[in-house]
C-alpha cells in the first residue's frame, strides 16, 4: 500500500529524488543493581524525500505515512533544493548514473513481547547476584532494535530492507583495596536478528559472565599503565576499532574533501605490508557480515570498499556525489539513521584482514608492553590521530602476561601506527554492538585479528 503510494508520487519527477519510508524501533530493559530502571518500547517512523538540484540537496520529512505526507515532503524537499540553488548557483552536473538496484528482504518483523526480554534480564541478574554477592554494583541491559526501510529513487532503484539487531550488555563493579570502585562492561552475543533469533536461555551467557567476573577481580588488583609509547597487542575483539576510528573516518570521502590526512595519500604506502582493510557490504570470508547492507539509501547496490591493500591506500568510501567528484564508482556507503535523516557517508562492516601469527607467539615477542583486551569508545581526527578508551588489559613482561591494568587511553597517528604493525594473528573477531556518531548515530560493525604495534598509552 505504502509502496504503491510512494511509487505513484515519484513516477514522473524530473529532478533526482529519493523517497524513503522508515520505522525505527527499540525495546529495552535496564536493571541496575536489581532495580528495573528501564522498561521501554520506542518506535519512530515516517516518510522523507531528498531532491538534488545543480549541486545542492533539499530534504524534508514528516512523521506520517499518507498520500498527503508523501506529496508534502516531496514538494518541501524540492522547494528547499530550489531555495539553496537560487542563492548559491553551484551549477554542478546531474548526479552520476549507477546500475538500478532492486532488493526485497524476505524476513518478517517479529514483535518480541516485552515479558520475554524482562524475564531474560531478571534471570541473568539473579544469576549474577546469587553467584557474586560481593560485587558493589551490577547492570543488565537487554536491547532489541530494528530499522525497516522502503526506498524508491527516480533512477528506478528500489529497496525494502529489515535490519534487526539484538544485544545484551552486562556491567559489574567491585571495590578495590584502595577504596576505589572498579568496573567492567561487556556486550554479549550481539548481532543481526530479533531477540528470540539470537537468545534462547540466559544460561547460554553464564560462562561469559563468569569470565567477566574473573577479569574484574584481576582488574581490581590492577596497576596503572606507565605512560609513553610502547609495544602493544590489541586483541582481536577490539582491533576493529583501528579499522573504524584510525582509518575508516579519515577515508570517508566527505571528510577527505574537508582536508583529512587521506586527501594527499591516495596510492601512497601508509601502513605495513601486512595491513589490508576493507569496508565489507554484506559478505566476508564466505559468510554474511554482522550488519549487512545490500542497497544503500541512495539506491546504490552495495559492494565492498577496499580502503588499504598491503599497506597502500587504495580508495575512499563514497556517496554518489563524492564518487562523481573523484571519478570512481560508489560502493553503497550512503546511509541514514532515522526517517528524518538524510543519507551520509557511513561505514558498514570495516575490518583488518587477519595474518598468519599465533597470539601466544605475539605475546612472547614483547619484552615490555601491554596486551589490551577491552575498549569502551574511540574517536578519530581528520589528521589521523585517534584514541580509544581501554577498560581491560595486562602488562607483558619478558614475553609473558603480567598484572592487569586499570582504565587508560591509547592514542596514535593512524598512518604512523599502522607502519609499526609487525604481527597479525590468524583469526578475526567482529564487534557489532555499537553506534558510530557523525551528525546521526548509525549501527556499524568492525573486525580484525590481534594486532601488534607501537602505540602511545596513557597512565600515571
Amino acid at each position: 500500500m505504502l509502496n504503491d503510494l510512494i511509487k505513484k508520487h515519484i513516477d514522473g519527477i524530473s529532478d533526482y529524488t529519493e523517497v524513503r519510508s522508515q520505522i525505527n524501533s527499540n525495546n529495552r530493559i535496564s536493571i541496575i543493581s536489581g532495580n528495573l530502571v528501564g522498561n521501554s518500547r520506542v518506535t519512530s517512523g515516517g516518510v522523507c524525500a531528498r531532491v538534488y538540484k545543480n549541486g545542492v540537496y533539499g530534504f524534508s520529512s514528516m512523521g506520517e505515512y499518507s498520500d498527503e505526507s508523501i506529496k508534502s515532503v516531496i514538494n518541501a524537499a524540492r522547494d528547499n533544493a530550489l531555495f539553496l540553488d537560487r542563492r548559491v548557483n553551484k551549477n554542478k552536473l546531474p548526479l552520476m548514473e549507477t546500475p538500478t538496484a532492486f532488493y526485497k528482504d524476505t524476513a518478517d518483523f517479529i514483535d518480541v513481547p516485552q515479558k520475554i526480554l524482562l524475564d531474560y534480564a531478571k534471570e541473568l541478574d539473579d544469576y549474577i547476584v546469587n553467584k557474586y554477592p560481593d560485587l558493589s554494583s551490577r547492570g543488565v541491559i537487554v536491547s532489541s532494535d530494528c530499522i525497516e526501510k522502503l526506498l524508491h529513487v527516480t533512477t528506478g532503484s528500489f529497496s525494502h530492507s529489515l535490519s534487526p539487531r539484538s544485544c545484551i550488555y552486562v556491567s559489574m563493579s567491585a571495590e578495590a583495596s584502595d577504596g576505589s570502585n572498579i568496573e567492567l562492561f561487556e556486550a554479549m552475543n550481539c548481532g543481526k536478528g530479533f531477540f528470540t533469533q539470537i537468545f534462547s536461555t540466559p544460561s547460554e551467557l553464564y560462562e561469559k559472565i563468569d569470565n567477566l567476573y574473573e577479569k574484574l577481580m584481576s582488574k581490581k588488583e590492577g596497576v596503572f599503565s606507565e605512560a609513553g609509547v610502547c609495544d602493544c597487542i590489541i586483541d582481536s575483539s577490539i582491533s576493529g576499532m583501528i579499522a573504524h576510528e584510525a582509518v575508516g573516518h579519515t577515508v570517508e570521502a566527505d571528510l577527505v574533501l574537508s582536508g583529512s590526512v587521506a586527501a594527499t595519500n591516495l596510492g601512497n604506502k601508509i601502513a605495513s605490508d601486512k595491513i589490508t582493510i576493507i569496508d565489507y557490504a554484506h559478505t566476508a570470508f564466505g559468510k554474511e557480515v554482522p550488519l549487512p547492507v545490500y542497497v544503500d539509501d541512495e539506491g546504490t547496490v552495495c559492494e565492498d570498499a577496499v580502503l588499504i591493500k598491503n599497506g597502500i591506500l587504495k580508495g575512499y568510501m563514497n556517496n554518489k556525489e563524492t564518487a562523481m567528484h573523484f571519478g570512481v564508482k560508489p560502493c553503497g556507503n550512503a546511509r541514514a539513521f532515522g526517517f528524518s535523516d538524510e543519507p551520509l557517508i557511513r561505514m558498514r562492516n570495516t575490518a583488518i584482514l587477519p595474518g598468519t601469527d599465533k597470539l601466544e607467539d605475539m605475546i612472547a615477542s614483547i619484552d615490555n608492553g601491554y596486551y589490551l583486551t577491552k575498549t569502551q569508545n574511540g574517536q578519530a581526527d581528520t589528521t589521523g590521530e585517534f584514541m580509544f578508551g581501554i577498560t581491560m588489559g595486562y602488562e607483558i613482561k619478558n614475553g609473558k602476561l603480567g598484572r592487569a591494568i586499570r582504565d587508560t587511553t591509547i592514542s596514535g597517528v593512524a598512518f604512523e601506527t599502522l607502519k609499526t604493525v609487525d604481527m597479525l594473528s590468524d583469526e578475526i573477531s567482529w564487534a557489532s554492538s555499537g553506534y558510530c556518531g557523525k551528525k546521526q548515530p548509525m549501527p556499524v560493525s568492525d573486525g580484525g585479528p590481534a594486532v601488534k604495534c607501537k602505540i602511545n598509552i596513557g597512565g600515571r
Binding site: 528547499n80 531555495f83 576505589s180 586499570r406
Partner: protein
Amino acid sequence: MEMSKLKEIAQYTLSRLKEYGADEAQCKIKFGLVDEINVDAGEFSLMRSTFDSAVTIKVIKDMKKGVIAINKIDKESIDAAAKECVEAAIVSTEDDCLSIAEKDENEDFFCGAEKCDRDKLFDRINEYVEDIKNDYPKVFIEQLIADYAESQSVFANTNGVEYSYTAAYYSMGSMYSAHDGDKTTSFNSMGIDFVSLDEKILDKGTQRMMYEMCEKELEAIPFEGKFTGTAVFAPSCLGDIVATAIDNFTGDETIIDNTSPWRNKLGEKVASEKLSVSLIPIDDRIIGGERYTAEGYKSKNCDIIKNGVLENFTLSEYAARKSGEKRCPTLSSCMEVKSGNTAYDDMIKNIEQGILVCRLSGGQPASNGDFSGVAKNSFLIENGKITKPVLETMISGNLADMLNNVIDISKETAMDGSTIYPWIAFDGVTVSGK
C-alpha cells in the same frame, strides 16, 4: 499546531490510560519543526526541514512501570500505545519507589524567537562563511549546521499536572580545522544557541578567539617528555571535567548503587573552596532551558557545589526515593561554573610549566573519576606564556582530585546559550608525550 489541540491530545491519552487500567499515568505530547542549513567542506550543501511529533507515556499499575514512546498523535496510534504501555507495566516488577509528580499550579511557558526568518538565516550563515574566509584565511569550515527549531509540548499527569512549553530558537555548530600547504590541524568544534539574527553570528561568544588559536595550531609539534603539573581547561572543554564529575558522582546511577565517592558527602567539602557549580535552566543567559523536568516537576535553579561544599545531588525523584535523598529541582544540563577573580592573562602569567587544553578526546572516565585522554587543539604554557601548540599529547588524572586542586579560576567566562564556563587552572594533571 495549536497548543489547545496538544492539551486535548494529552488529556485524551490520560483518559485512555485510566480506561486500560493505569493506577497513575503521565504523558508528554510534543510537536516540532526544524529548518536546517548545512555547509560541507566550505560550501552550502543541504536545506532540510523536518516536521515531527512525539508521545511519551509512563504508566504505573500495581507499583509496576511501563514506558512507551511513539511519534504519532492520531487517536488510533495513541489507543494502541496506551494499551501496550499498560501491558508493559503489568509484566514488569514491583517497585515502591515509583511515582508521578504531585499537583502544582499549572502553567504555560514560553521562550525564544517568534518565527523562523529563513532568508535572514541564510544571509547570516553566508556572511559567517565569508567572514571566516576573510578574517581567518587558513581556517576551513569542514561542516556547519545552522537551524531554527520550534517546539510545542504539553506534559500532563493523572494528579492534574498540566504544563505547556513553547520554545523556538536558532542554533549553529561548526566543525573546523586550519590548513596551510601540507600542514593541517586537528579539527575542533563549537556550538551556540541564540534567539535573534540581528547581529553577526561570528561575534557571539568566544568564537573569534577559538579561530585565532586554530590558525596558530598549524605550528603544532609532538610533545616529548612527561610532567605532572598545571592544566588550564578552556571553556570549550571544561564540561569534560566539571560536568562529567558532577554526572559521575551525583547522578542517579552511582548514588542508587552506592558507588559514588561522594555518596556520603552531602554538606561536606568535596572541592576547592574556589569552586561553585550551579544548574541554571531558568536564567536569561540560557536559551530554551528546561521549564519542567521529565518527571513533571517545575524546574528551578540549583547549586550543586557552593564554595567547594556539596549542596545537592542531581537526582531524579525515583533515585531520590530509592536512595533516601532529596530530588534535584532540575534535571537540566545547563551549567554555570562561577567565575573567579583572576584575569585570564594573569592566570597564564602565573604558570611556569603547564598545558592549555582546548579539547579533550578521551574515554568515559571510570566511576571513581580516573580519566585519560588526548589533549587536542592544545598549547604548552612555559614561563607564564602560551608557547607551542602540541600534538600527540596525553593527559590523565582523577576528576575528584582535580576539583580539589583548583589553582585559579578566570574572571572571564564563555557563554554558548546552554553553559557558562570560565577557564580553570588545575594542579596535579599528568601530561605525557612521545
